[in-house]
Amino acid sequence: MSEAPGSTGFDATSLSSDQQTRFVNENLRRVFLLIYRIVGNVPDAQDLTQEAFIKALQRQDQLKDLDKAAHWLSRIASNTAIDFLRRAGRVNFSELEDLPEPVAKSREESPEDLLLRAERREYLEGGLGVLTERERTALLLRDVEDLPAEEVAARLNCSKATVRSHIANGRVKLRRYFERRKS
């Protein structure tokens, strides 16, 4: 999640079509990944990413400070994903198994590297899969988005103590999962 909105020289109050495209291109991957990690499947993440961008671009007038664009967009994205989970109930992680086999993306990576990466990804994604929605969302917002516990609590609409409990339980579950996989 290292992509930032960058130094887009757009006027936040009215973006031209080109500026909108740039804004989307610079943030699409980051927002998609955030939503994907929360909802856990590609088709829903794809729909929700689109929804988040449309919401954001329709509310451009609320974007006063471009330096905060990444944070603002992330907030819309995570809220969109959380609302979806609230509406839809539990996420179906079995869809991950239906995805096609990994495709080589980088020419610099050897087949061994790719295999290791795929294994590591599967390993960690499996770990995230054992968490409840709220644990996973709290953990992702805290660890990946680097939001303070208070902000996570605000987004999940619960108390800070509850968020800390979700984070702690999530980490302990992940640890146990990794230990099981190791043994």
């Binding site: 909108q20 991957r29 449309i54 995230l128 660890d143 800390r164 980490r171």
Partner: protein, 207 residues
């Protein structure tokens, strides 16, 4: 310290989410406990792993295709939104602060010039009117500014003054023998003819 730190505390410590007191206690314990130190390091490593995996695309995802599809759908959604959005009301013309400040300065300059070039009486009357507007009530003029109708009796005779004009009654150059002024607003002057002894009384009344 014999009891080990709980897993929950170790998990929270990985992201600095422990309270200050518990964090200090944990650090003290971990400094002397190999098992807890190892567990704390594992939680920190898990956190790094999660951050790392979160930045990677799902396995097998053709990102270029998915990104192009999403971008097209976003533009489509925005275009559709514009079609169905309620028409915006035409907003009134708004000035930015710079032109507004210049216009205000020019207005103050003109008003000051006009004020300074007005006749004194008009300035006083306008000031009174403005003051009454500001205070929300009609203010009576002060006697010094507008005495209204005045009767006057002096060595020249009796006189009635109002609005800058005056009407005086006298007996030529002869001074009155006596003048009287009454509170209800009248003034009288008595003249005595030195040759005939005839007495003449002239009076003015303010009504």
């Amino acid at each position: 310290m014999t009891a080990h730190v709980s897993e929950i505390d170790l998990a929270l410590a990985a992201s600095g989410d422990l309270s200050l007191w518990r964090a200090v206690m944990l650090r003290l314990h971990v400094a002397g406990c190999e098992r807890c130190r190892k567990a704390a390091e594992e939680f920190r490593a898990d956190r790094r792993r999660v951050r790392q995996i979160a930045s990677e695309l799902p396995a097998g995802l053709d990102w270029d295709r998915v990104a192009a599809e999403m971008t097209a759908n976003i533009h489509l959604g925005l275009a559709a939104g514009e079609c169905v959005a309620p028409r915006r009301k035409k907003s009134a013309v708004t000035l930015s602060w710079r032109p507004a400040a210049v216009m205000a300065g020019v207005a103050v300059l003109l008003a000051t010039g006009w004020w300074l070039n007005m006749p004194h009486d008009a300035t006083v009357a306008l000031g009174r009117a403005l003051s009454s507007v500001v205070h929300g009530r009609t203010m009576a003029p002060s006697p010094a500014e507008d005495p209204g109708m005045v009767v006057n009796a002096d060595e020249k005779g009796v006189e009635l003054r109002e609005n800058g004009g005056s009407l005086g009654i006298s007996e030529g150059s002869a001074p009155p023998l006596a003048v009287t002024v009454s509170v209800p607003g009248s003034a009288s002057a008595r003249y005595v003819d030195g040759d005939t002894g005839q007495v003449t009384i002239t009076s003015v009344y303010a009504q």
